[in-house]
Symmetry: C4
Subunit: 234 residues, 4 copies
């Protein structure tokens, strides 16, 4: 019997959401879920199609990238997940996809401007696009450095990962996270929507202005501020 | 036993159409249905995913925004619905979504030009885009002022809400309405179609002319005029 | 017992294909099927949603627009169908939709250029876009004149309706036809595909050249020429 | 009893994936699977809709285009398949579709630039677009020359068909291949995704740079290089 049955289940359910939400085809994408008290996370095995996955196939890895339990090799992006879990204490789940519109912005190497309240309902900044790595970094410990690249991007832009739970990696695609794996996947879907809306907005009006600051704050705070009145909590 | 069982049912059915018609993801969007004789309307509870909704979860609110029946908090947009019901006597249902193409036009802050008969089959004007609110209004009673903003836009443009049953809120997204909740949702879907068609039209021909007046009248009148011959009534 | 049971069935099946092929929403669109020997055609009743249609609801109309059998009012576009059946002897079925990409080209008032073999597999010309009617014609017998407008467009461009089984009506949308109702619907779907492909082609390369004449002939003839070798016939 | 039961089954399953993956409508597209030891391949019969196909309908053809078994005429593109099997020894399956975005690039007569890691996960080059044939070639043995055209394109660009398993035929559409028929279909789907992502990338940033060489190598090698660590093999 596995000691990580529940963790694997959470991770499995979140992974299976990706094809249902049209965020992946084939083996693209991966989601992980962390158990902070046990110092491990569960992650999708590498290169397995979603329709063949079982909950027990999830691989258990510690925060130093060592496989703790599992017959299969973990996702090739495992070190990026581990790096982010080590760097950001509150993060409970991480998702990575190659969803079409988010990838297009990443390939265009542009931040996604905050154009409307759909965006401000989730956070108050443009979705950052981290620049592509230098050649040395790529030839080094690539997936580790991918995590570093995300961290550097957030530091340089002075962003808080507790608020902005999504990033584009230039030329690659999106990573998203949240308090748990389900929230990370939710953020992947929201990001894809924001990416599509922003793309269309610029096609209709190349000079579309960013959302004004008062409206950014209003929408973010009514959902996430101390006097939030969206949803059933608080 | 609720006194509003039928009203809740109407409201629930209309809300459940939104994900079926691909107009919302997650908890985005909300529909309400009014009972004029009882001075109340039913509306979706805030932040509840559609797949978890039950008819009995609909919240009953009076036209002064007071909850009359319901265990849950009503949609955060409730005051906008109440404002429009107070202002416009014939309206029986209201829908609000973040559907992709309508939002893109709202974020581009442009009216949707009447380019064809699909549009004129429904009304005879460009779909109006209300400008974003000033900072003072945003920091005041925001959802109330959102209703005011819609009203002002219709007054300024001299539009009749009985004919034009849809509006874009600049930087936000669409509100639609109709004689009942089902018609409001129908208008949300039609608006999304018009928004997509108009977007594509401008991509193919940036100088595409608006539909000529005679054709606007012809198509609108054959469906809605006194000698209408579309459909099975009249 | 109806004398037109089979005709109604053919017409009904073809109509029901439209929502399945994503060519219509709600009550948009209509298909008819003609029985030349009986001098009548069956057509969708006006304004009825597809999910409520039954085969027996199809309305039987003669070529002078008189209802021969049926409890409901026929499609408001009936006179256009009748006109085309009177004008073009070999046509067995006609379809009209408001499919998104075809409408966008109609609203842009542009012919769809023949850019590739997908197009040439079906016919050898740009898909013609008939110009919008003059104001007098619109105020006259509108649906009759819509047929006239299509006929004039084919005459002016010297097109053969036996080869080119599709047209765009400027500012309105597509009409398609064929040897029977099923083929007319097939052409509606093909047209929507061609419209989308041509739109994307021009986005990628605004100077994309039309398909060269030798390739147009080759692809058309291998499917439709006297030495055709596509398919299982001939 | 057929001697080719398994081969037909492989070919049939691969063909049926095309409509499931939204890569074809109606009778568009065809997949073949080769049995090198028997000197034959199985291919879809010409002009048969997917929903009417049975495994036993697959036509068995030898590498000189002669039908060996089968009641139906093979795909009109059979000679192109045979040509490629003769030219490229390791290829086990070939797929041809008219998928929307890939066709748009083919009609635009442009290579698909390698903009991101989704692309580099599969190969290290732009997806080549072979130029349209000259008029003489078209009027000759067209489908045979289509194969020649692909071969010439790969030779001129110095591409290895073992690495780059996809090509666009100018004005026509994509051909893809792989170690077996399933892999060929996989490549058709991947190509359609790459085509859509690249289209959107250029819309967002017309000056989007190609992926840098170090990242191309990194992503390709971690999946396909001698020290590959993606997936469960090696």
């Amino acid at each position: 019997m596995s000691n990580y049955k529940e963790l694997k289940r959470e991770c499995y359910e979140a992974n299976m959401e990706l094809p249902r939400l049209d965020l992946v085809v084939y083996t693209f994408g991966n989601v992980s879920a962390v158990a902070r008290d046990k110092g491990v996370f569960a992650i999708k095995p590498s290169g397995i199609p979603y329709e063949e996955l079982a909950a027990d196939d999830m691989v258990i890895v510690d925060l130093d990238n060592k496989v703790v339990e599992g017959k299969m090799r973990p996702s090739s992006d495992t070190k990026t997940h581990a790096f982010l879990y080590r760097s950001w204490e509150n993060v409970g789940g991480i998702a990575h996809t190659h969803s079409t519109y988010a990838v297009a912005w990443a390939q265009a190497q542009r931040d996604i401007p905050i154009f409307g309240t759909t965006h401000a309902d989730h956070h108050t900044h443009d979705v950052p696009c981290a620049p592509p790595m230098s050649d040395e970094l790529i030839q080094g410990d690539y997936e580790h450095m991918t995590g570093q690249q995300i961290l550097d991007c957030f530091r340089e832009k002075n962003l808080d990962f507790n608020e902005v739970e999504m990033v584009l990696l230039g030329n690659h695609g999106p990573f998203t996270w949240g308090k748990n794996a389900a929230k990370a996947v939710y953020n992947s879907k929201v990001l894809e929507e924001l990416a599509k809306m922003a793309f269309l907005t610029l096609q209709i009006n190349p000079n579309a202005p960013r959302l004004r600051q008062a409206l950014i704050r209003k929408h973010y705070d009514r959902k996430h501020g101390k006097d939030a009145y969206y949803g059933q909590n608080g």
